[in-house]
């Protein structure tokens, strides 16, 4: 059953078309990667889906409900959570308090929000850090805290914006394990933007590729790796001509 339907979404910023006529359907339980060169419009698409940007045209349907005209907080309440590329978490709040902000969405009571936050923290193996301020933690741990906070809202669909950027290989393994946990054990549908190819290729069921605001490919990781349009987008026209479309 389709969880997210993106239908001919277009987003203009003045004269710049950041997303052009993008359409795809995401099934419940999928783990999808969204890749593309810098400036391809990946984060813009995330912002459109999560309601932070209003659409220029097109429609977005979440779990059978049209969310195209809803504000970001209303979209969040319908089961869509996300993390941010640059933003990490509220630096003045402890790890536990940060996660509680997410948990407060569905729990008015402090005691219940706290209990839920503790559960999520132990699930993502962050329990030992609960009393630290987020600003005191290394970037990798901060990124896992933002994932925990997003999980606090009980999402049906989780959008992760470059959670592995700037991390070292062992930290990437940790993040990978957390994403797998969230996807396979909690059953959350996940879409992730990622530049770290090992990570996307390894865990995605399906990958969508954007280039200059347009969807240029859609398929499983093997298909994507062989797709000439994708190779061209990443490596440039001349490289493809010289090497006959094979990855060097």
């Amino acid at each position: 059953m389709a969880l997210l339907e993106v239908h001919k979404v277009t987003k203009d910023f003045g004269g710049l078309r950041a997303n052009s006529d993008i359409s795809f359907i995401m099934e419940k339980g999928e783990l999808m990667g969204l890749i593309g060169p810098n400036g391809a419009g990946k984060t813009t698409l995330f912002n459109c889906i999560s309601g932070l940007h209003s659409l220029t045209s097109g429609r977005i349907v979440l779990d059978g409900e049209d969310i195209s005209d809803l504000k970001a907080h209303e979209v969040a309440r319908r089961g869509l959570a996300r993390t941010f590329q640059v933003y990490t978490a509220s630096g003045d709040l402890s790890v536990e308090e940060n996660v509680m902000v997410g948990c407060f969405m569905h729990n008015r009571s402090r005691a219940r929000a706290k209990a839920k936050a503790d559960e999520i923290l132990s699930y993502l193996k962050l329990k030992d850090l609960s009393d630290y301020l987020v600003s005191e933690l290394p970037v990798a741990a901060q990124k896992r805290v933002t994932m925990a906070t997003a999980l606090g809202t009980d999402p049906k669909l989780l959008l992760l914006d470059e959670v592995a950027a700037g991390l070292n290989p062992s930290e990437i393994e940790e993040i990978l394990a957390s994403i797998k946990h969230i996807h396979y054990e909690l059953g959350v549908t996940v879409m992730l933007i990622e530049h770290v190819m090992e990570l996307v290729m390894k865990i995605s069921d399906r990958i969508i590729v954007l280039d200059s605001g347009q969807k240029i490919a859609d398929g499983n990781p093997e298909e994507i790796a062989r797709d000439p349009a994708v190779i061209k987008a990443y490596l440039g026209e001349r490289y493809v001509k010289e090497h006959g479309g094979e990855l060097g």
Partner: protein, 335 residues
């Protein structure tokens, strides 16, 4: 039930904080017993009034990070409601105070709704402007005595009058105020741990992130602005009964707004003890500066210069005020 439990629960503070707070409370309870000058008594009353103003400001300004420099308009609304109702219709404080809160909160919705479309400095400037406009209106409005203001004459009442809050001795005002002071602390202690309190701290850091966590940012700000307003309006009503002579110039001027913000900013914005620490330093300073340097040495306006210096020092060196320094030292020790 859970609300009351949370309001009374101070267990997340280190023990030393609670000991100091207990000693301060003991001092406040026993202060009037000591034979002190009426000047000291008046200073203590001002200290508590401004602590409560600061606590109110701290909700939106400290926890929410929305620098509001127009709180004086709500002091005015509270004070005038109580004074007008008492003088014209002989309605006692305990009725006029809630009416004043309703009027002030209603007004805060009317101006808060559009004002919170603005951000940062623009919001601060807009709050100043609305406050000054209201002050100007009161200065020409005959119903409330225009620029002459209103005077509550204590002669027609029989003090001590607990219903109208008309007393001869300051000690009565002192203990009524102490009650408000303690209630204020309990409320803020609940607020900082409440859903709204958490949402606000998240908004302060990043509004887009707050939105994506299901927080209606605009509504949360407007609600908190109303809470801050209620605090200020209650004290405005009290101020009218205590001072008995109110005029737009000394209840609604810009310097009152700035002083209210300064309590929390100096003591520590976004912390429970901040506004109390700020008022504990600034109010005695203000009284004595006025008394000694102002009246005796003829240096009128020296207090304003000192506030300006304090604002600059705080924003340059420690934006989280005195309490921010304490917390920094503690964190360093823990590591």
């Amino acid at each position: 039930m859970e609300t009351i439990k949370n309001a009374l629960d101070f267990s997340d503070f280190p023990r030393i904080d609670l000991i100091v707070a207990g000693l301060v409370l003991l001092f406040l309870l026993t202060f009037p017993v000591f034979p002190l000058s009426s000047f000291a008594m008046a200073t203590m009353i001002q200290f508590m009034i401004f602590s409560i103003y600061g606590m109110g400001w701290n909700t939106i300004g400290g926890y929410g990070g929305q620098v509001d420099l127009g709180k004086a308009q709500y002091v005015g609304i509270g004070a005038y409601t109580t004074a007008v109702m008492l003088i014209r219709w002989d309605i006692p404080f305990w009725v006029s105070m809630p009416v004043g809160v309703c009027l002030a909160v209603g007004w805060s919705f009317i101006i808060g709704y559009p004002l919170f479309r603005l951000k940062g400095h623009y919001f601060a400037i807009a709050t100043i402007a609305t406050s000054l406009v209201l002050k100007d209106l009161f200065e020409v409005w005959d119903f409330v005595g225009a620029a002459r203001g209103l005077e509550i004459s204590p002669i027609i009442y029989q003090p001590p009058d607990f219903l109208r809050l008309i007393f001869k001795e300051d000690i009565y005002y002192y203990y009524v105020l102490l009650g408000f002071f303690l209630l204020g602390i309990l409320y803020i202690n609940w607020f900082r741990k409440s859903r709204l309190g958490f949402q606000l701290r998240c908004i302060k850091d990043n509004e887009d992130a707050a939105r994506s966590l299901g927080i209606n940012v605009h509504l949360a700000k407007v609600k908190t602005y109303a809470i801050a307003t209620a605090f200020v309006s209650v004290m405005g009503s009290f101020h009218a009964c205590y001072i008995k002579n109110i005029e737009p110039e000394d209840t609604m001027s810009l310097s009152i707004s700035i002083l209210i913000a300064l309590m929390a900013m100096l003591g520590g914005a976004g912390s429970l003890w901040g506004p109390i620490i700020g008022a504990g330093i600034l109010i005695p300073l203000k009284s004595y500066l006025k008394e000694w340097l102002g009246a005796s040495a003829g240096l009128v306006g020296i207090d304003t210069i000192i506030y300006a210096i304090i604002i600059m020092l705080v924003s340059a060196f420690e934006p989280k005020g005195i309490w921010g320094i304490v917390e920094k030292i503690r964190r360093r020790k823990r590591k």
